[in-house]
Amino acid sequence: MVAVLSLLVSFMAPPTQAQGLTVKKTTATSNQITGNQIIGGVPTRITWEATVDRNEAVKQITLVFPEGSSLGEHANTKATVLEGTIRLDTKFTSTISNTQTVVVFDELVESDLLIRLEMFYVALPEASGEYTLTGSYIDATGREIKLEESQTISVIAATTVDQITQWMDDQPWVEAWNSVLFLKIFLNPQYLVASVPALFFGWLRSLGLVLVGFPLAIPIGLGISFLRMARFGVIRFFAAIYVNVIRGTPLFLQIYIAFFGLPLLGVSLDSYVLGIIVLAVNSSAYLAEIFRAGIQSIHKGQFEGSASLGMNPVQTMFHVILPQTIRRVIPTATSEFILLYKDTARLAAVGVMEQMMFAKSLVASSGNMTPYIVSAGYYLLVTLPLTKIIAEFEKKLAAAEGSTEAPVKKPKRRLFGIGSIETLIPQKKPDEPLENSRSAKKLRLDEEEGPHDKHD
């Protein structure tokens, strides 16, 4: 240590004394509402650490801020002295100004101790750049010794969003609004503005999860639904196990098992990819039931009719049955899409970077709930139009299929005039499984049984 130091000192054209205080680090905490950088002109917390070298003792430390620094409200400096990892009960007094902070220790800080100074609510200069802290300390004999220059802190100029939120900070109407605790914590204007751009990328990532996961789930689900209707009991049995195990366990649990269990088995996948797989597998079981019910709702006569035209079962399935099935299952499959989209939020618990995770870390670092409200807005941005589309499609379907086969119209509740919420409201479950049901009304009930289980 001493050798390194003397080397350093000889390089630095030293002040009168040999350096007796080794600066370990100088950092500042991010003061952006969203983001990890340090903006100039806005209060931040600067942390400075140094160890006292052998045969040295420190009475007082002066740290000089870069020119152009200023103080926020409540600015103060706290000193912590540690022996190894043990915090000592060191008393001190400190003063702070626009230019510097001075910390005077009641007793000498002896050698090998770590001094940690935290300067709260100090604003670094507004211009972007690299800044350092300079200063000096006073040792046991009262000599003032210049400190080596600290590591640099990178400061950026305020972004547009930062500027808007700073402007809002000074507005009387914002202050009045925020004086109501509920509004301040849940509908804070500053956080509202800051969260919209910050959550945008999280929103894209969530959308990505479901836009890849759901199309993957469709062929798997269709395959499983065929297996569920297979001629051989053994195949039907295994397909039923797949569907019932996945539908019979919470998605949350499946996520846990996949994320914490698989890696222990040596399967290591990118968490985003694994998230997509879990969603696809989960959704495939629900889709399998939707497809099966859809296929079984097609009148038996059509199979017979196709056979009489000389079509084999595969041709019948792909040319006659499926095209009709697809039309019928679109509303329920879309509901399943909506449910799956909302379920992407559960991946936040295992560290997949998606919208909820973005919102969560904003809430965590600010203690303000507003990012959650903005997050809800982003989810609605997708789900409300889709709900509307489902309603429209059902209307068309009903018109196209005529009275007997059409989904039975129920009196609809309108959700703020935006669309039907019927597809999202749990319906009464049928008393018995409708394996052979062909009535369109019963079919709808059967299909809807699936997605609701998920949220029980």
Binding site: S30, N76, G84, R116, I185, P263, A349, V363, A364, F416
Partner: protein, 278 residues
């Protein structure tokens, strides 16, 4: 047009109702709930009960044993509640990152007790009791890896519990490009993710880290204890100075009669109990 009007009127009436009920509720809270033994100003969410919010997943400070939280904090708080003549009641485990906001709102819990480090930033939101524990950060990694210091993880994928000083430390110190911070609700999820290799290091408080690597995760070790000298305090709403005073008084009297040290040494036999300013 008609629809839009209707939509607006629904929205307005719903928000009015919300605000009205909130203010009525708050007014109600301010009225009652005082306790005979201490200042008349002490307010409790439920009268006669000290209601605690905690994530209940931070051994040895607190963890669930069946449906009961056990550990250093529940024992200290029980002693404080006894001292104040209150019942102690823990809410079901809360998400760590929402507890302080809940405390601040003052409607759900009286005290946030989840090994909260006292910081000036958090003091903007809530008040803190006397510090009851000195702590540091730790960087934890798999034993099979060859990292030797916390700064080795600069530029890698690391994890921390959401809203903790550990997460703050990572944001402030691991500023190299490529550093990804994954945030978890619970310390146990954080450790599971580390063991699964999803993150290279977990950053959280040293006492809890030490407990985890000694018990459930023996394939992990503490790479470095980062001396931050932080201190834990119980969080109380800023609008409830009566309760804060009562808790501090109770802590001091527990310190004086030896109860505090006895509980402290039961959980941390190798450490020196904090002075609590006495």
């Amino acid at each position: 047009m008609f629809k839009k009007k209707k939509l607006l009127s629904i929205f307005v009436s719903v928000s009015l109702a919300l605000i009205l009920s909130m203010s009525l509720f708050l007014a109600g809270c301010n009225g009652g709930g005082s306790e005979p033994r201490t200042d008349a100003e002490m307010i409790n969410v439920t009268s006669g009960v000290l209601t605690i919010g905690s994530d209940c997943d931070y051994p040895p400070f607190v963890q669930m044993q069946g449906d009961k939280p056990v550990g250093f904090e529940p024992e200290i708080l029980q002693a404080i509640a006894d001292e104040l003549g209150l019942e102690l009641e823990y809410l079901p485990p809360q998400n760590f990152d929402t507890i302080l906001a809940s405390v601040a709102s003052g409607t759900k819990m009286d005290v946030g007790a989840s090994s909260f480090t006292i910081t000036d930033e958090r003091k903007q939101l809530v008040s803190f009791s006397l510090p009851y524990f000195d702590s540091n950060q730790a960087a934890v990694a798999l034993i099979s890896t060859s990292y030797t210091s916390a700064m080795d993880f600069d530029g890698l994928t690391v994890g921390a519990q959401s809203g903790t000083t550990g997460a703050d430390w990572v944001r402030e110190n691991l500023t190299g490009s490529g550093t990804t911070l994954k945030e978890f609700n619970q310390a146990s999820e954080l450790m599971a993710s580390l063991a699964a290799g999803d993150i290279q290091a977990a950053f959280f408080d040293e006492p809890a880290a030490a407990q985890y690597v000694a018990t459930s995760y023996t394939n992990c070790h503490i790479v470095e204890v980062i001396p931050t000298g932080e201190q834990y305090g119980f969080a109380v709403s800023k609008d409830n100075p009566g309760l804060l005073q009562a808790i501090n008084d109770a802590m001091i009297s527990l310190k004086k009669d030896g109860t505090f040290d006895r509980i402290f040494l039961k959980y941390f036999p190798d450490l020196k109990p904090p002075s609590l300013g006495t």
